[in-house]
């Protein structure tokens, strides 16, 4: 693959942070909650935080009433959602919805496509993590949801070049990060690493953002990074990518990230990947339905 040298002006723009979007105000306290032990989390504070923002609360209820988060009966308020689904699930829903606030400023990637991919990856990663015995997949959810924020950074500082990279990826049916390296000389992983630093994101989230397409290069949090690398690829193969299909064949049994996970988690050997893939199809169908509902079918 030919890699274009990265334009120093682009790099400067990323590092200066002047053109980068700010992290949505509501997302910051939600991420901070993750750092606290579960028994010291205050339910009322999270409920108040969500309820204060009417559109956020309404979107949270739309998602809470979809099968994605395992609800079995209709919830009509954030308070009742917490009672029915538990604080962890509501927290995940709130993080997913507040992340939406970052997206409408984008020009060249439909926000609904981008959100569907991020949400799909986080949900598939959570399911997979639960099956292989990864500790505390609920806590890792936010890291998985935010894995592609580098795209937001690239769109902010180089919208035209990013659009060219996306067109290249679409016409050659290749992974987006490869097209970015060819067109911009920098991938959304590398751009994401810079924005993660500017936003002071926790180190494990920063690691996921910086290495999800190359988990071997992560010096820490290898399993956390590999799980989203796997789910990202599975989502793209199942049509929840960036609005185009990649012509590739993947043998996960030969994938270094998957092999790394298999050596770490005994439950992967043997792991029924076929069944998990079919289960994922169902999850992603629901993701499409929810995204279409939240965006009013405009995507």
């Amino acid at each position: 693959m030919t890699r274009m040298p990265c334009d120093p002006k682009l790099l400067q723009k990323l590092q200066s942070a002047r053109e980068l979007p700010t992290l949505p105000a509501v997302l910051i306290p939600l991420l901070q909650y993750l750092e606290r032990p579960l028994d010291s989390q205050d339910v009322h504070q999270i409920v108040d935080l969500i309820a204060k923002d009417e559109s956020l609360a309404a979107r949270c209820l739309q998602i809470a009433n979809s099968p994605l988060f395992g609800t079995t009966r209709e919830v009509e308020s954030i308070q009742s959602a917490v009672v029915v689904m538990g604080l962890e699930r509501i927290h995940q829903i709130a993080v997913s919805c507040s992340f939406l606030k970052l997206l409408p400023s984008m020009k060249d990637v439909s926000p609904s496509v981008f959100w569907a991919h991020s949400l799909g990856c986080a949900l598939v990663a959570r399911e997979f993590a639960g099956k292989i015995g990864f500790p505390d997949p609920g806590k890792a959810y936010s890291a998985w949801l935010l894995h592609d924020v580098g795209i937001i950074a690239l769109l902010a500082v180089a919208p035209e070049q990013f659009a060219t990279a996306l067109r290249l990826a679409r016409s050659e049916h290749i992974p987006l990060h490869e097209a970015e390296k060819r067109e911009l000389g920098i991938s959304h992983e590398e751009a994401g690493k810079i924005i993660a630093g500017i936003w002071h994101l926790p180190p494990e989230i920063a690691n996921v953002i910086a290495h999800h397409h190359s988990p071997d290069e992560a010096s820490k949090d290898h399993a956390l990074v590999s799980i989203v690398g796997f789910s990202d690829l599975l989502c793209r193969l199942n049509g929840i990518g960036y609005g185009y299909s990649e012509t590739q064949q993947t043998n996960f049994a030969e994938d270094p990230a998957f092999i790394g996970l298999a050596s770490q988690f005994a439950r992967i050997q043997p792991f029924d990947l076929a069944r998990f893939t079919f289960e994922t199809e169902g999850t992603l169908e629901e993701v499409r339905a929810v995204v279409s509902q939240v965006y009013g079918g405009k995507h």
Binding site: T247, D272, G282
Partner: protein, 298 residues
């Protein structure tokens, strides 16, 4: 950009009963076909049809019926007929066909070129009334001016049922069978015969129909040098021992670069380690397991 969000849900989630989940797991364990969450409502409807037909009351009772001999095997077949719709049509699984055309075909042709061979052999195993092998022939004919330029190909189509073979050879189909075919392809490869559509000789000449029992070892050993096998919604009706035997024979029939395709949501997990699962865009396939081959040859 974001529509005014309303707190009211568009639809209520479907809550499957524990018995329905047991039926789902039983189908996967015994037949190897998985019903994902978005198909649970459909699975429930098909179970309710069978519950009514059998004069039962609950899904729990139906699960017992599916697990109690001597009824179990026969009833499982009846349920499988309901969930696979029991009828086939042209271009039934578009993602699978796209995967064959855009991902698998270039890889197979590259491998065969290295062997200095320019003939492609595709096998539709359990071809029923012929819609699948004719679909494959149409796709490959479309590639004759592109990827298959300078190549020859044949589609071997086999089925146990002689009547299905006769229907397939006649090559005449009603509107239901052809509803998924693009208008341009329909015009090019079919002609009207009254209310029915007849497959053109150009396509028919590429498909060779033969009666074959997949469980008969002697007949299976005659199938060699195959590049791609499609065996969709057939093995789900076999018991575990027969499935293992058929898969082993498929393994012998295929070239080392060969591919095996099953029906949508069908799996070989727990059946064979002679094949490895690979993922293609929105579909899956099986390739010969290199580790196993090395073990056998080494």
């Amino acid at each position: 950009m974001i529509a005014a969000a309303s707190a009211a849900p568009a639809r209520l989630p479907f809550s499957p009963s524990p018995s329905l989940m047991q039926v789902r797991d039983l189908i996967y364990k015994t037949a190897g076909i998985f019903q994902s969450n978005n198909r649970l409502r459909f699975l429930d409807e098909q179970c309710q049809k069978r519950i009514k037909a059998l004069g039962l009351r609950t899904t729990r009772e139906y699960f017992d019926c599916l697990t109690t001999k001597p009824m179990a095997r026969g009833e499982l077949s009846s349920l499988l007929n309901e969930i696979t719709i029991g009828e086939t049509f042209f271009f039934r699984n578009q993602p699978q066909l796209d995967g064959i055309r855009n991902v698998v075909l270039p890889r197979v042709l590259e491998a065969k070129s290295r062997m200095h061979l320019r003939h492609l052999r595709v096998w539709s195993a359990g071809c029923s009334t012929g819609e699948e092998p004719y679909t494959l022939a149409i796709i490959l004919l479309e590639e004759c001016k592109a990827r298959l330029k300078g190549w020859t190909f044949e589609v071997v189509a086999t089925d146990l049922n002689q009547r299905s073979i006769a229907t397939a050879e006649a090559g005449t189909y009603g509107e239901y069978s052809v509803r998924n075919i693009e208008a341009s392809l329909r015009e090019k490869y079919f002609r009207f015969e009254g209310a029915q559509l007849q497959v053109m000789p150009e396509v028919r000449s590429k498909v060779r129909f033969t009666r074959l029992n997949l469980s008969e070892d002697a007949a299976m050993t005659s199938m060699t040098g195959v590049d791609i096998i499609l065996c969709c919604n057939v093995l789900i009706y076999f018991d575990l021992a027969s499935k293992k035997q058929v898969i082993h024979r498929f393994h012998s029939s295929l070239h080392n670069h060969g591919y095996l395709f099953l029906g949508h949501a069908e799996s070989l997990f727990g059946i064979s380690d002679e094949f490895q699962l690979v993922h293609l865009p929105s579909s899956t396939a099986y390739v010969k397991s290199e580790a196993r081959d090395q073990k056998e040859t080494g």
